[in-house]
Amino acid sequence: MPVPKQLAIMLSQHIGAICRPVVNKKDRVTAGQLIGSADAFVSAPIHSPVNGTVKDIALCSHPVLGRAEAVIIESDESNQSKQPCADKFDGRFNPDKFTPEKIFNAVRNAGIVGMGGAGFPTSVKIKTNPSSPIRTIIINGCECEPFITCDYRVMLEWTNQVVAGALLIGKALGCGDIYIGIEDNKPKAADAFREAIKNIPAAAGIEVVVVKTKYPQGGEKQLIKSILGEDVPAGGIPPMIGVLVSNVATAAAIAEAVVFDIPLTYRPVTVSGSGIKKPGNFYAPVGMAIGELIELAGGLTDDAAKVILGGPMMGFAIADLSTPITKTSGAIIVLTEKEIGKAKMLGKETACIRCGRCIASCPVNVNPTRIAHAVKHNLLEIAEDYYMSACIECGCCSYVCPANIELSGFIKTGKILVARQKKLMPK
């Protein structure tokens, strides 16, 4: 694919502190050069994907934050699109060549974050913590949202690289118990991994686990439950029970960063949905505008009605096609009215008939209707009393609601309101 003429690289692409720009307007940058430095522990530095000139440091549309600061880079003619380095990984890979410190530093300096969507800095996850040692590592190959296939391509084409990344995480944490979880609708990916594990002597301990295809199987809590049969405490995180879950694309990025010192500047992106003329997967630079990626995929169809960054269940509706992709943007989905459903399209909400379908569908057993209605009437204590903080925001409740109530939307709003009340979040 051609290198885009202009990139807007967000300084906030992860959970944690926002990066500090270390380049100035009109500076020349080269591909892989640091442009946003991460000073806090929970943060990840940001690099330029291309050679070019810094045009501006300005506010841009951000998919989640509304508007946020970004480094705008104009790329020059010398650029060539970055190629994946998966073919450089083979059976000779040995994680023992690297020390845990070297792995941590390489991951930290490469600015790797969770690429499945959350964007938690990976370096924080792979730093050994004596108070909660990691005993099991799960590589998450469950791409459970409809339409998205970028992780599937990663699993098929970068199999060795993903295995190498998994071994490096294991090495960094001194943990040999590694599983790769794959849904049973992707038998080819499971076969590819079994083959790769056979060929890499160091990977003999890795086990491929095929799990049921269902949404939200790829949620880390759900995957842990499926593979290990254990529950993560509600409102808690997997390290509390000694488990680390990492996405396959993240594992691949780790391998690339540790072995070749290449920062994370490109990522696989699915561009799909009925509103796209030629759906496909792209290896795209971070900072590329969503509109340009859509053009590469043949453009929008006439009945395109909604552009979503991320999957249709948890992604964000985009109003501005100049919004750039970030390290966590695995997919751009364009839906038509038919897929969205007429009621949802019109935002038409009817009365709750207390049918309990939201409760039956909830993967973490909370009471969505009670929480949502409490939030609607600004009764946050009641919402918390019904364990609002345990919600994983998967959207199943809104999906099944016959009255078309935005249950998940209300719950997310409620969580933000509570965080503001507790002064954990600015207004």
């Binding site: 909604k306 509706a317 459903g341 364990y387 016959p402």
Partner: protein
């Protein structure tokens, strides 16, 4: 391009069904019982059902109009109230009584609370309770099904005219009441009721319009379960608890108490278990709550049938359990996976 771009919280796709579709499924589920009602009670069945549905819809429309609320007839819930009310009154009920019942059901049972989703009690049962309280005689006069040959000798000793007939439940009540009678010749044995199982199954018996034919109701109930319109918890809890409660009576004194199978198929037990108690608005949200609710409905019904004054208890037990549904919901809070979060 994309002038009409839509922005909303995720998820961006939804299951293609709606409240109206759920209600439509309930109406389809009631269809076999309607066919049976027409077969046994002919024009009366058609007339009463039409009157009740029409008046329920009209009342809802008027209530919305006076409160300047959008028209809510599209959700079909008023039609269901009409059908269930018609199915739970005697076939001989005059049309004007049906109108009064329908108006009361919708206006007082539902719209004063704020319409669909806000009502505390099942509207159809409110309407029926009002009719029972106001027109006690009419509500206990039972027509003989049109399929019975009127020249045949009746089971009933009193009613040789064969215009009206005691319901099987009334026979079972007689058996319970006659326990205290010393005179052996006047005693009624519960086996009279137990011998009616075949008629109970197909519906050739006296009773409320839509609840006589067990087989039609079971077909409708299975349809609701298969389409996922209702969950199995409430029907199962109602029927199991009624079965257990009636078994206790049956094994204590089988001459006074009718068999459990008789009780499951008689009166409003099946229509109640599948169509009335399962009304989502007035039943609990959680599975545990549904079990408690169902056991309460089944148990109370049997308590009224075996100990109380009335021969049928479905209406009262549903209304009683409706009233404690908020309480059940309060005490049956579900605990999230992974235990309570530390807030």
């Amino acid at each position: 391009m994309l002038q009409n771009i839509k922005i909303s919280p995720s998820p961006h796709i939804s299951k293609h069904y709606s409240t109206s579709l759920i209600m439509l499924n309930v109406l389809i589920g009631l269809l076999p019982a309607f066919i049976a009602a027409v077969w046994y009670f002919r024009a009366r069945a058609v007339m009463l059902t039409l009157v009740c549905v029409a008046v329920c819809c009209l009342t809802e429309w008027l209530c919305n109009l006076t409160r300047s609320k959008p028209n809510s007839l599209g959700d079909l819930s008023a039609a269901i109230t009409g059908v269930i009310l018609a199915f739970s009154v005697p076939p001989a009920l005059p049309w004007w009584a049906a109108i009064i019942g329908s108006v009361f059901a919708i206006a007082v049972g539902k719209m004063v609370f704020g319409g669909l989703g806000a009502n505390v009690f099942n509207p159809a049962m409110i309407g029926r309770a009002f009719l029972t309280a106001s027109f006690g005689m009419m509500m206990t006069t039972w027509t003989v099904p049109a399929t019975i040959d009127k020249n045949m000798p009746e089971i009933s000793v009193k009613n040789t005219s064969a215009i009206t007939q005691a319901t099987p439940l009334a026979w079972s009540k007689q058996a319970i009441k006659s326990k205290k009678i010393e005179d052996v010749s006047k005693k009624v044995d519960a086996s009279i009721a137990n011998n009616m199982l075949k008629d109970l199954f197909f519906g050739q018996r006296g009773g409320c319009l839509g609840e006589t034919s067990s087989v039609a109701l079971i077909i409708g109930g299975i349809y609701l379960l298969l389409t996922g319109t209702i969950s199995i918890h409430i029907p199962l809890a109602v029927l199991l608890s009624a079965f257990v409660a009636s078994s206790i009576g049956y094994f204590m004194d089988s001459t006074a108490y009718a068999s459990p199978v008789f009780h499951l198929m008689s009166g409003g037990m099946l229509i109640g278990a599948f169509f009335i108690a399962t009304d989502p608005v007035t039943s609990p949200l959680t599975k545990k709550g549904m079990w408690i609710f169902g056991i309460g409905v089944g148990g109370l019904t049997m308590l009224i049938r075996m100990v109380g004054e009335y021969s049928e208890g479905m209406m009262f037990s549903v209304l009683l359990m409706n009233s404690i549904t908020p309480l059940i919901d309060k005490f049956c809070k579900i605990i999230p996976a992974g235990g309570k979060p530390n807030v």
